[in-house]
């Protein structure tokens, strides 16, 4: 614990605190949120900040604070789906390629190259064109788009480990490859996978919010930060900035916090991104 | 000519690299600085040119012909570096900018540092390379550092180092990073150039025999301190400090340095 605190530094611990607050907000939304996030009242449109409505109401008279709290749910689950699937498939592909090498490795590389040819958002939009807009489609498609990044990093690290004695000697003893891979190789690349997932979480959050903003992710009247930014666009230009600005800031702060923690854990390189 | 007096260097709060190092080099003299890696030899050299790592704390004084070189700043420091003292570092592949051709390295030293006209510098670059025993002058001038061997590149660095006819040459393990086959050759060229120009040299090495072959006097360094200074034969026949004795005993038997064109008496 102390080691973790040292690694994070003051800013890192603040970032962890922010993440904790957002996660708790998402988990406890039904308890925290004072109003139903999807139901508004025409008489309550564009209310300013008050004791009743902390952050005011939107153009449909819905409580913005409640929508922000509920919005944390979809805004966090989406990226979570993305990074979990990316980690599982990316790692499996990488370790399979490394263990068998040769033809398997180069065949898998070709497949990943093909995925690399698509910008992430384009791949997601193609999937949405085929299967229709929803958070699940968007998240699954983004996961597919992220897999090559994750697989590339894990592969190159596992490749280095592959020829080390602790992997070679059980192999010569005739222990099955799957067993060695899971028991020895996986634990050694695990920290890299965790760091990569952390960094990817931020990217996924922004790209999923972008898809929701385009009307291709989370569908109204559901509360979601990206959707709220888009929903509040007209209000913002008419002088009611609360909805868009607060939802946008929630994204910025969460992504910055997650990004900083990831950076402290081991940097962007672990996500396979040069950026 | 060069006088180092009670030089100490610390990095950070508690890493003392050099402790009261005192050493002098007379005009035209070659002094060897021998010790194992991490003993502070390189740092002594780098302090002379003020290129010790950032964050180092340096005390003591270094004078070159009674000019305090540690106190030089700006243009005066630059002139001293360009004209009076030159340095040959261990790894020539790191010394040359990897994206510039060899010719640019030589011209940079003569034109940008020493202020010779570009045209003169260009002409001299070829002559200098011939002087350090390079035949395919044009090819080498056009090459990028990664296209040349370490030995070839170290000759280029030597050529650059003698271009300004400096009074003092600082050599930091100039052959350690090279192939065994080219080490003697490069060393011989360095030694020859030094004698031709009558330069003084402070020669850092971990190889006592090599130092004995090219130097007039040898200083033995251990843990940031100079433990013994003497003539090569003194150190060989009658080492005073136990560490010198260990160094003498631990050398591989039967290998002695002989230099082609050796002009040391």
């Amino acid at each position: 614990m102390k080691q973790f605190a040292e690694r994070m530094g003051t800013l890192g611990l603040i970032a962890c605190g922010i993440i904790l607050v957002v996660v708790l907000g998402a988990l406890l939304a039904p308890i925290i949120a004072p109003y139903d996030p999807t139901i508004g009242s025409v008489t309550q449109r564009y209310q300013g900040m008050s004791a009743e409505h902390w952050f005011g109401t939107d153009q449909a008279g819905r409580d913005i604070f409640s929508r922000l709290v509920w919005g944390a749910r979809s805004s966090l689950t989406g990226p979570l789906i993305v990074v979990v699937i990316t980690a599982i498939f990316g790692t499996t592909i990488a370790l399979t390629a490394v263990w068998f090498g040769g033809f398997v490795d180069s065949a898998l590389s070709r497949v990943l190259d093909l995925l690399f040819a698509f910008p992430n958002l384009l791949l997601a939009m193609l999937a949405i064109a085929v299967f229709g807009p929803s958070l699940t489609t968007a998240a699954l498609a983004l996961a597919v788009a992220y897999i090559p990044y994750s697989a590339r990093v894990v592969r190159s690290m596992a490749m280095r480990e592959r020829n080390l004695p602790y992997i070679r000697s059980p192999e010569l003893q005739g222990i099955p490859g799957a067993v060695i891979t899971v028991r020895h190789l996986l634990p050694n690349v695990a920290p890299l996978i965790v760091t990569g997932a952390t960094i990817n979480f931020g990217f996924a959050m922004i790209e999923l919010a972008a898809l929701s903003f385009l009307g291709l992710g989370v569908q109204p009247p559901e509360a979601d930060w990206g959707l709220m930014v888009s929903n509040g666009q007209q209000s913002l230009l008419n002088g009611y900035p609360a909805e868009s600005v607060l939802a946008g800031l929630s994204i910025v702060i969460t992504v910055a916090a997650v990004g900083y923690v990831g950076e402290r854990l081991g940097g962007r390189a672990a996500a396979g991104r040069k950026a | 000519m060069l006088d180092i007096t009670t030089l100490s260097l610390t990095i950070g709060p508690d890493r003392q690299i050099l402790r009261d190092v005192s050493l002098s080099v007379a005009a035209g003299e070659a002094v060897g600085l021998v010790g194992e890696s991490g003993s502070g030899k390189s740092m002594t050299l780098r302090s002379i040119l003020q290129i010790e790592p950032t964050g180092s704390e340096v005390t003591g004084s270094i004078t070159l012909d009674d000019v305090d070189v540690r106190a030089l700043r700006g243009e005066e420091l630059r002139r001293m570096r360009a004209n009076d003292v030159s340095m040959i570092a261990q790894n020539p592949h790191a010394v040359l900018n990897p994206v510039l051709p060899v010719e640019r390295y030589l011209i940079e030293g003569m034109h940008d540092a020493q202020g010779q006209p570009t045209r003169t510098a260009r002409l001299r670059a070829g002559e200098l390379l011939e002087q350090v025993g390079i035949d395919a002058v044009d090819r080498v001038l056009r090459s990028y550092p990664h296209q040349l061997s370490g030995g070839m590149l170290q000759r280029v660095v030597i050529a650059g180092a003698i271009a300004g006819k400096p009074r003092l040459m600082l050599a930091d393990e100039p052959t350690t990073a090279l192939d065994v086959t080219t080490q003697a050759e490069v060393m011989a060229i360095l030694d020859e150039c030094r004698h031709e120009l009558g330069m003084a040299m402070l020669f850092v090495t971990h190889d006592l025999d090599l130092a004995a072959a090219v130097c007039d006097r040898i200083a033995v360094m251990k843990d940031g301190e100079i433990v013994e200074i003497g003539l090569p034969e003194q150190l060989r026949d009658n080492p005073q400090h136990p560490y010198t004795r260990t160094l003498m005993e631990s050398r591989p038997a039967g290998i002695t340095w002989t230099l082609e064109g050796d002009t040391t008496p």
């Binding site: 958002l121 949405i128 064109a129 994204i251 990004g259 | 540092a113 990664h146």
Partner: protein, 313 residues
């Protein structure tokens, strides 16, 4: 030269494979095109058959793919199912806006990202702290959010820039597109600035820079010739990757500013399941993405003499 040819061949291979992938995905999509065309109206089987024949919907999958591919290679992207327009014309009409937007954003990334990075890396102190903080926050700002904020401050609030639309004529266009381009370039600039700074810091203490100083080369020259020049090698790849990334980012910004670019066209086509348009844009974008990445690699090989040798050997 063989390096370029090999990379070109690889790019063409990937393009064919990805167009197959896209075509297959659209083919397998639930809901048939003729139902889309008749839009729920009841039509006689004869009319349906005529439509199927007109769009060659009864041909086997591979035949249809082959015909489509051949047509695309001849510049014929088919017709939009939604409004019967020629997809090629549709794309051509939208292309200038997107091209201009992406180019402007690319320039901003280079000027702002690389510029601030060099400033922070060479100056240090408070400048460095500010740039570092800015880049830590900057990469977290979604482009669409930056778009809204910029729009509300500079267009609605101060009235300096138009709110919507892409303008006519060259300079009017630049004026209309400068805010969108800024929004689009902001996150990338943040990342580029930070990487530039790190790269400069590393080069500043590199042996060849130190030895150049030790040889009496003036500090300004050491900075320009050794530190900044060499730190641009890794930076140029990063900049390239980010410029390629702008292609996808531009959809979102175009949509936010309701610009009539390829991105808005794609978003609308996706929403309306206008597959002919989606397919065409996907292929064009994948090609553009691949070409930019290829150009970046070639550029890198041409500025770093070490790369060329390794690749062609």
């Amino acid at each position: 030269m063989t390096f370029i040819l090999r990379r070109l061949a690889a790019l063409i291979g990937v393009l064919i494979a990805s167009s197959f992938l896209v075509f297959a995905a659209m083919y397998a999509a639930p809901g048939s095109p003729e139902n889309f065309l008749v839009q729920g109206r009841t039509v006689s089987p004869d009319v349906l058959a005529a439509i199927r024949a007109q769009y060659s919907l009864d041909d086997p999958f591979l035949v249809r793919f082959w015909n489509w591919l051949i047509n695309v290679l001849q510049g014929d992207f088919g017709r939009s199912l939604a409004n019967q327009q020629d997809v090629g014309d549709l794309l051509a009409g939208r292309l200038p806006t997107t091209l201009m937007l992406v180019s402007l954003a690319a320039i901003i990334i280079v000027v702002l990202g690389v510029g601030l990075g060099i400033l922070a890396g060479t100056k240090g102190g408070i400048v460095d702290k500010v740039v570092l903080l800015g880049s830590n926050l900057g990469f977290a700002i979604p482009t669409f959010f930056a778009a809204l904020i910029l729009m509300s401050i500079f267009s609605v609030g101060l009235g300096w820039f138009p709110v919507f639309g892409s303008g006519d004529g060259f300079f009017d266009r630049i004026w209309h597109l400068s805010l969108p381009a800024l929004a689009l370039a902001l996150p990338s600039s943040a990342v580029v600035a930070r990487i530039t700074r790190t790269s400069i810091r590393e080069e500043r203490d590199s042996e060849h820079s130190v030895m150049a100083r030790a040889r009496g080369v003036a500090e300004g020259l050491v900075m320009r010739r050794h530190v900044i020049r060499n730190s641009m090698l890794p930076v140029s790849t990063i900049v390239g990757v980010h410029i390629a990334g702008l292609i996808a980012g531009s959809f979102v910004v175009e949509y936010a500013f309701t610009l009539d670019g390829i991105g808005t066209l794609l978003v609308n086509a996706v929403q309306r399941k206008d597959f002919a348009v989606v397919q065409a844009i996907a292929i064009v974008l994948v090609a553009a993405f691949g070409v930019i990445n290829l150009l970046v690699d070639l550029l890198y090989a041409s500025i770093d003499p070490r790369v060329k040798v390794q690749q062609t050997r």
